[in-house]
């Protein structure tokens, strides 16, 4: 029995590792080639569409100011741009700060969520903005995001030059990466996610996932879909599946860059990631039952990827860890031999290599410090994710069985620590 479990765990883990090895190659190739289209695409940027930037905000007084400053600096005709801050039942100065910007800049608007969209979560807030706008393109940013000047420009460039794309997603970076050991891990994680999962899947399969921020979507698609799913904790993943099911693809265009703040404490991190994990599990379960009714078969593959990640891969890792610990105290007489040890070592090295390749794509991230963080991450951050996924699965299962309501957890923000002289 131990041998069987071990083999199953080995297969599950290595399918994932090899798949990511494959994705990493695609991601790297994409990183080298994606800018080559820009000169040609620029020629089609004459007749620009109207753009509404949605910024849902609930108690975001710490960060909303810098976000709106970034919006002010966006390189996009201001007569075709509107920035809508959706104040969702804030009890702090969010509304007041946004209101001041709205007074100074005509393209910035402040709206408040109304019942039944009030205080429920991000999806509801976005739906409120959807009702109160009419531009051709919708761009979404989280309230802690500071997009680069050309971000919206590039997102729109992607939509204009790729008519088959229903949405275009850019890249996000971590603005407080150096703050704590946790933010350093998250920084590495986000770089890996985008260059491996996003870029790799886009390169090989023309598949990408909406990450919840720094993306542009055609309004008529949102109208057709009826807005965001208010029951989904991961509304971005849920939207992704429906966009694909309409027959469009989602383009990953990392020329559009935004910077966002990540949790600096474990508690905040845990709550945020639990929400993501539960949200993605919800999406998998929601669509897995309708798997073969989906029109775009490649999204089936992607759904299966999520299923594999959240259910099978982590199961394999947990089983593998349990067998390892039990074997320390009781000889399970595992028969696999030396190849198991070799594969264990290679898994570790592969992890380091893949992460390092991702970091090497971002200038200044491939450092010795980060290299040691990668090694440290393998034994700490990655293991934390395992525990988190298990807890999330338990919570999500409990919610489904007891038919509990979804509760949106708002990520706590941190004030940017000023360095002397800056």
């Amino acid at each position: 029995m131990a041998n069987l479990l071990f083999y199953i765990a080995l297969i599950l883990i290595w399918i994932m590792l090899l798949y990511h090895m494959f994705l990493m190659q695609g991601g790297y190739r994409h990183s080298v080639n994606f800018e080559k289209v820009i000169p040609e695409w620029r020629k089609n940027m004459s007749d620009l569409p109207t753009v509404s930037v949605f910024i849902p905000a609930h108690n975001e007084e710490v960060v909303i100011g810098q976000t709106l400053r970034a919006m002010v600096n966006l390189h996009y005709p201001k007569d075709k741009l509107e920035v809508i801050v959706i104040d969702d039942n804030s009890s702090d100065r969010t509304g007041e700060i946004a209101g001041e910007y709205a007074k100074r800049y005509p393209f910035i608007r402040l709206i408040e969520t109304k019942s039944p969209n009030r205080g429920i979560g991000k999806s509801s807030a976005l739906n409120e903005a959807l009702q109160q706008s009419d531009s051709e393109v919708i761009v979404v940013y989280d309230a802690d995001n500071t997009p680069e000047q050309m971000a919206v420009w590039y997102l729109v460039m992607g939509l204009l030059n790729d008519p088959k794309s229903g949405a275009v997603v850019g890249k996000f970076r971590v603005s407080n990466a150096k703050q704590t050991w946790l933010t350093r891990f998250i920084n590495i994680e986000t770089i890996c996610f985008q260059w491996m999962a996003q870029a790799g899947r886009w390169k090989w399969f023309k598949v990408a996932t909406i990450p919840g921020t720094n993306f542009a979507i055609r309004r008529h698609i949102m109208d057709t879909l009826g807005g965001w799913d208010v029951k989904a904790l991961a509304e971005d993943t849920e939207l992704t599946v429906r966009v694909y099911d309409l027959g469009y693809h989602i383009r990953f265009f990392p020329a559009a860059i935004t910077w966002e703040q990540e949790p600096e404490t474990l508690g905040v991190w845990w709550k945020q990631r639990t929400r993501w994990a539960r949200g993605n599990q919800y999406v998998v379960i929601k669509f897995l039952s309708q798997l073969f009714k989906l029109k775009r078969k490649r999204i089936i593959f992607d759904l299966f990827y999520f299923f594999f990640t959240y259910f099978l891969f982590f199961f394999g890792v947990i089983v593998s860890n349990v067998l390892f610990v039990v074997n320390l105290f009781y000889d399970l007489q595992l028969q696999i031999g030396n190849v198991a040890l070799v594969l264990w070592g290679l898994a570790f090295l592969l992890f380091i290599a893949e992460v390092a390749i991702s970091l090497s794509i971002e200038r200044t991230e491939m450092t010795w410090k980060n290299f040691f963080y990668i090694i440290f991450m393998y034994f700490t951050y990655s293991q934390m994710w395992i525990i988190l996924v298990v807890c999330s699965l338990y919570l999500e299962t409990k919610r489904m069985l007891l038919r509990q309501e979804v509760r949106w957890y708002k990520t706590e923000r941190f004030a940017e620590k000023k360095v002397e002289g800056k």
Partner: protein, 526 residues
């Protein structure tokens, strides 16, 4: 008187002498064929019958076994020796009585029912008596023996003693011998072995064959100690065996290169490799027949188990033989992996070996060929083991030796663990050589065959021929096919290693190139 008269006298003397010599030669010539007829309660052979089979096979070329109820008219005519074993009281079948009545060769009867056989008409069987010693040796526990009064002119080869009287234990008159029990503990076997040649009217051997072996050699053995003990024997020109287990847990002997080299050297210097496998059958014991819903189901399960056992044994044997042959070590025999083996296991062994070494409970202190071993010769370890944990490590050896000296033609054989060092080995050899007329067995001069599907090893007096179809390519191919999942994993490992090498080269190239800025990024972040 002319010169012819002395010639005629000499011719008469010569003829008389020849006939006389012929009689004595006839009385002591080798026996070729023997039969054992046994009467047990359930008709099945018991351990004691196996022992007699083994004992007889040491001195007789061919031994056949019959349950008394299966004997047919004419069956027993061809035999020179018949043993009748009455394990349980009962009526001897008429056919057996008639066959034995007409038998003129050596007849030996054990235990019950001998009074029903006409050659024993002169013996008086008085009932049973408890005896406490046999042949001057105290029994472990008192036992019942048939009390018999042997006829006039008979000789008592061994006596049993009760509290107050002496009883004939082995008594013989002419070609008829009676033994008062049909069950044999260590003392009874000792006494029987001592009297064996006399009971059969065979010439008592003048020598004791001897052999010595180094046992317990495995992938984790200390090569230095193996070399030290082996070379001690080699330097003294004593032929010796090396009992080698090529596998230990997950370790292969090929991983201990030093040990392999030592064994190769010792093989050239008089050592003979004996392979030891670790198989135990691997199956739980067969349930009692009552657990099955039908006889057919029981038979089916039994047959299936036998097939599984046999297949498992073959596989393990082949693996061991081929592993050693691949290293230039040529096993010529096998060591019994355990004391109590089934007939199926012996059958499986016999397909690969012609000789077996070990300490089976059924074998006497002779080199024998019992039916149970399906044609294999058995080389017993008669001296026991040297135990360095005891105050006198050779205590068991001394005790065994004192008894073996009293058994004509008995094998003086011992096994020694090289990890004990050479000191006690020296003492062991000295003890063995202290036995008068002891001769080291020249095993390398005997004909032996060891074979698997891919390897055949022939040993003759002149040569050792090894035929093998194992090439490196074939071995690799079989390893790949034999364990495709493992092979697949190694391929994955290879692919990943390739990827990692590519990554390392990429990192090195980055260090040497000046990377162009890929993105416009704010300076104070990242």
């Amino acid at each position: 008187m002319t010169y012819k008269q002395p010639l005629i006298v000499w011719m008469i003397v010569f003829l008389l002498a020849s006939s006389f010599a012929g009689t004595s030669v006839k009385a002591e010539e080798d026996k070729e064929t023997a039969a054992i007829i046994y009467m047990t309660n359930d008709g099945d052979m018991q351990n004691d019958v196996y022992f007699l089979d083994a004992l007889l096979s040491a001195v007789v070329k061919e031994v056949d076994l019959y349950a008394a109820s299966e004997v047919q008219p004419g069956d027993l005519r061809k035999y020179e020796v018949i043993l009748f074993v009455g394990a349980e009281e009962g009526r001897v079948p008429e056919i057996v009585q008639e066959e034995i009545a007409g038998f003129s060769g050596e007849l030996l009867a054990f235990g019950h029912n001998a009074e029903q056989l006409s050659p024993f008409a002169e013996w008086k069987f008085i009932g049973e008596e408890i005896i406490r010693t046999v042949g001057g040796e105290p029994l472990e526990q008192a036992k019942l023996a048939t009390q018999v009064i042997s006829p006039a002119g008979s000789i008592v080869l061994a006596e049993g003693l009760s509290l107050d009287k002496q009883l004939p234990y082995i008594s013989k008159k002419g070609s008829v011998t009676y033994v008062a029990t049909s069950f044999f503990g260590p003392i009874e076997t000792l006494v029987l072995s001592r009297s064996l040649f006399t009971m059969l009217d065979m010439k008592t051997p003048g020598t004791h064959p001897a052999f010595i072996g180094l046992e317990g050699i495995s992938p984790i053995s200390d090569a230095v100690l193996v070399l030290e003990t082996g070379m001690y024997l080699a330097d003294r020109e004593i032929p010796f065996f090396m009992v080698v287990s090529p596998f230990y847990a997950d370790t292969d002997i090929s991983s201990n290169k030093e040990l392999v080299h030592v064994l190769q050297e010792l093989q050239k210097n008089g050592g003979t490799v004996v392979v030891e496998t670790s198989f135990t059958g691997g199956l739980p014991p067969l349930k009692e027949q009552t657990f099955y819903s039908s006889d057919a189901e029981y038979e089916s399960d039994r047959n299936e188990r036998q097939d599984t056992e046999t297949a498992g044994i073959h596989a393990e044997l082949s693996r061991s033989i081929e592993a050693l042959t691949d290293l230039g070590l040529y096993p010529i025999a096998a060591k019994e992996p355990k004391v109590q083996m089934s007939s199926t296991e012996y059958q499986a062994l016999s397909s690969s070996f012609t000789s077996l070494f070990g300490e089976s409970v059924h074998t006497p202190a002779f080199i024998s060929k019992p039916n149970l071993l399906a044609g294999m010769a058995h080389y017993p370890n008669t001296l026991g083991h040297v135990d360095s944990a005891l105050p006198d490590p050779l205590q068991e050896v001394r005790t065994s030796l004192s008894r073996l000296r009293t058994i004509p033609g008995s094998v003086i054989s011992g096994m020694y663990d090289p990890s004990e060092g050479a000191e006690n080995l020296t003492k062991l050899v000295q003890l063995m050589e202290s036995v008068p007329n002891m001769e080291w067995l020249q095993y390398k001069q005997t004909e032996q065959t060891v074979q698997t599907e891919r390897v055949t090893i022939f040993q003759t007096a002149d040569d050792l021929v090894v035929q093998s179809t194992m090439t490196k390519t074939r071995l690799l191919y079989e390893r790949v096919i034999g364990n495709p999942f493992n092979t697949f994993l190694w391929i994955i490992a290879g692919v990943v290693i390739g990827f990692l090498i590519a990554f390392l080269l990429y990192v090195v190239s980055l260090r040497f190139k000046l990377k162009k800025r890929l993105f416009k990024e704010r300076e104070h972040i990242g």
